[in-house]
């Protein structure tokens, strides 16, 4: 687990649902074929309406034409991030696009769980009004141990909520490694 995560912010609003994160028509590609799964990066966040894409200005492309990786590596969101469908393609597409962390005011339950159990990235929560005070493109630095975030562009710092019991799954890497380490499934099974 990386202790320091840094990168450019891509800012979104509240209630970003999984159809905005990855529209349903794209849920057909293989998630195990390394080439085919790049399609998920290509279409990540393609359902976000233009005026909400990369706040506060909007109309900021998350993925440039012809690419499957984003120049932005940290997503900043508002309330209820990832609501809607249980599709794991949602955290998966963000990871494939290069996202290393999402920091939101709150999450929908299944998206949060998928992010942790699948080991895609850490879904941080912040009690602060980060989404309102961050501009797309700002440089952010997250210190996992200290549970803090610094916006290097503005110089402001923010607190992150404690990850609670799920930190053990995050540390292990995913639910399978966690279960192996705690003896729930044999480590020789894979």
């Amino acid at each position: 687990m990386k202790q320091i995560i840094e990168g450019k912010a891509y800012v979104l609003g509240s209630d970003i649902d999984t159809d905005q994160i990855i529209p349903a028509e794209h849920l057909v590609y293989s998630l195990s074929d390394p080439e085919e799964k790049k399609n998920y990066g290509k279409f990540a966040l393609s359902g976000v309406p233009a005026d909400g894409a990369g706040l506060p200005d909007g109309n900021n492309a998350f993925i440039n034409e012809g690419s499957f990786e984003s120049e932005f590596t940290i997503i900043v969101g508002g309330k209820n991030f990832g609501c809607g469908s249980s599709r794991e393609h949602a955290p998966a597409c963000l990871k494939i696009a290069g996202i290393q962390a999402v920091v939101a005011e709150s999450y929908a339950r299944i998206f949060y769980r998928n992010s942790v159990d699948g080991g895609f990235f850490i879904p941080f929560e912040t009690p602060d009004k980060l989404a309102e005070e961050t501009r797309t493109g700002d440089k952010l630095i997250i210190d996992v141990e200290k549970e803090s975030l610094i916006n290097e562009t503005t110089g402001k710092s923010y607190s992150l909520s404690s990850l609670g019991e799920v930190i053990e799954i995050i540390r292990a890497g995913n639910i399978f490694e966690y279960a192996r380490q705690s003896g729930l499934i044999p480590s020789s099974e894979a």
Binding site: D17, A24, L27, S32, G84, S86, R87, E88, I185
Partner: protein
């Protein structure tokens, strides 16, 4: 302190006498359901984690129901069905409802119910957020991702954070123009799209218990639209009767204790409920139907797990019988059993199918169809700036295909009444 139904079911499946909200427990799983969109990814992770020759934890407890992208030319979507077939054959799974065969059913949440996989007191996980539908049977059911489903395939277990419960009680009787969809849209409008996040939505009161199993499923289906982890309705004679026709497996009935602890309780007077829509682009964007009569529509869509059951079509047929629709109207039965009902059940001497055809509706094959947009050639999918009144469960931007289209969620009564007039119409205007 007593326990709620949900707490009792989770305790029993965790081998404990008692559980408390916020506690993490490992539970034994009775049924794992997956479909064509998430099944291939689940199978991929299962093989990667448990080995190429791994066997599922219990072949009797795995149910695979292709339903999302069925009638399409999309080669990736069709390849995904082939992956399911190969896995089912390799694992010798008895509960697979393959497309293109007589065994094909359609939308997973209703197929689970109709094929006897929903049983009171059990724990069911599914790779679909609307898996909470099964809570209508007094069981714990919720949606999960591919990773968690693969974990269950290998182990038969999953960790669960015990949810706090919210109780919604409806006393008295609903007016006859009110359907379960009006009630769930009303409640989500009241609590917001994250009002029940991580929590149970428990439905109770005599008006709720007067609902058929189909209506109870509609109510539970959309708990996820309030962020809920699960929904639950205590099993009663209506439940037992439905289940008895479909399975003889034994089950356990749990009831909430009078002194159980609830995070929130609210009582509604059922007789005061009004027809409700959710305006674009959020299921909590509530308005009374009668306040939206100036909204012109150019499509009506009646279908999906939450609006494509026999009772939904019977309601629509009552309004459409002997009349002509004013806009494109799509009828999509959720399952093949519902399709057979449409062809068999009659209203004033005509089958429901004849009612819809005579009214000028287009009838689709049983599946999820345009509820979630899907491949470009999906029946009823939006491609432009359509304004749709729909009995489906989500109206996020682009949900039915086009980001420019606008979707108003409504009951089958409201969708049918609006189809006749071309604008959003309170069903009372037609019924009276």
């Amino acid at each position: 302190m007593g326990m709620t139904i949900t707490e009792k079911i989770l305790a029993a499946h965790a081998g404990k006498d008692k559980v408390q909200p916020s506690e993490n427990v490992w539970v034994d799983v009775d049924v794992l359901m997956t479909h064509d969109v998430c099944g291939p990814g689940t199978i991929g992770i299962f093989k990667e984690q448990f080995g190429k020759n791994a066997k599922v934890f219990d072949r009797e407890k795995v149910v695979i129901i292709p339903d999302h992208y069925i009638f399409t030319e999309d080669k990736h979507a069709n390849r995904n069905i082939d992956i399911l077939r190969e896995f089912v054959s390799e694992q010798d799974l008895p509960y697979y409802y393959d497309v293109g065969t007589e065994n094909y059913k359609g939308v997973c949440h209703l197929a689970l119910a109709q094929e006897g996989h929903n049983r009171p007191g059990e724990v069911l996980f599914g790779t679909d957020s609307h898996t909470c539908t099964s809570g209508a049977f007094g069981m714990f059911s919720t949606g999960i991702g591919n990773t968690d489903a693969a974990f269950i395939l290998g182990t038969g277990k999953l960790w669960v954070k015990v949810p706090e419960s919210m109780q919604f009680e409806f006393t008295g009787e609903f007016p006859d123009y009110i359907m379960a969809k009006d009630i769930i849209l009303q409640v989500i409008g009241d609590i917001g799209v994250d009002g029940a996040t991580y929590r149970t939505m428990e439905w109770t009161g005599e008006a709720i218990m007067d609902f058929s199993m189909e209506e109870r499923m509609t109510l539970c289906n959309m708990a996820i639209e309030g962020g809920g982890k699960n929904a639950i309705i205590e099993a009663d004679d209506v439940t037992f009767e439905y289940v008895k026709k479909r399975t003889d497996k034994p089950y356990t009935v749990y009831k909430s204790d009078p002194d159980a602890n609830y995070y929130f309780k609210k009582t509604y007077d059922a007789s005061t409920m009004e027809p409700v829509v959710a305006k674009p682009h959020s299921p909590d964007n509530k308005a009374l139907v009668k306040e939206c009569s100036d909204v012109k529509i150019n499509r009506s869509y009646i279908g999906s797990c939450t609006g494509g059951k026999y009772t939904d079509f019977l309601a629509a047929a009552k309004l459409l019988n002997g009349k002509k629709v004013a806009v494109d109207t799509f009828i999509v039965p959720a399952t093949t059993e519902v399709l057979k009902d449409l062809e068999r059940e009659t209203l004033e001497g005509k089958t429901l199918m004849e009612v819809f055809k005579d009214a000028g509706c287009e009838i689709g094959d049983a599946s999820c169809a345009a509820c979630l947009g899907g491949p470009k050639d999906t029946f009823g999918r939006t491609h432009g700036t359509e304004v749709v009144v729909s009995t489906t469960n989500r109206n996020f931007p682009g949900r039915m295909g086009s980001k420019q289209s606008e979707v108003y969620l409504a009951s089958p009564y409201t969708a049918a009444a609006s189809a006749l007039t071309g604008h959003i119409t309170d069903p009372r205007e037609i019924l009276n």
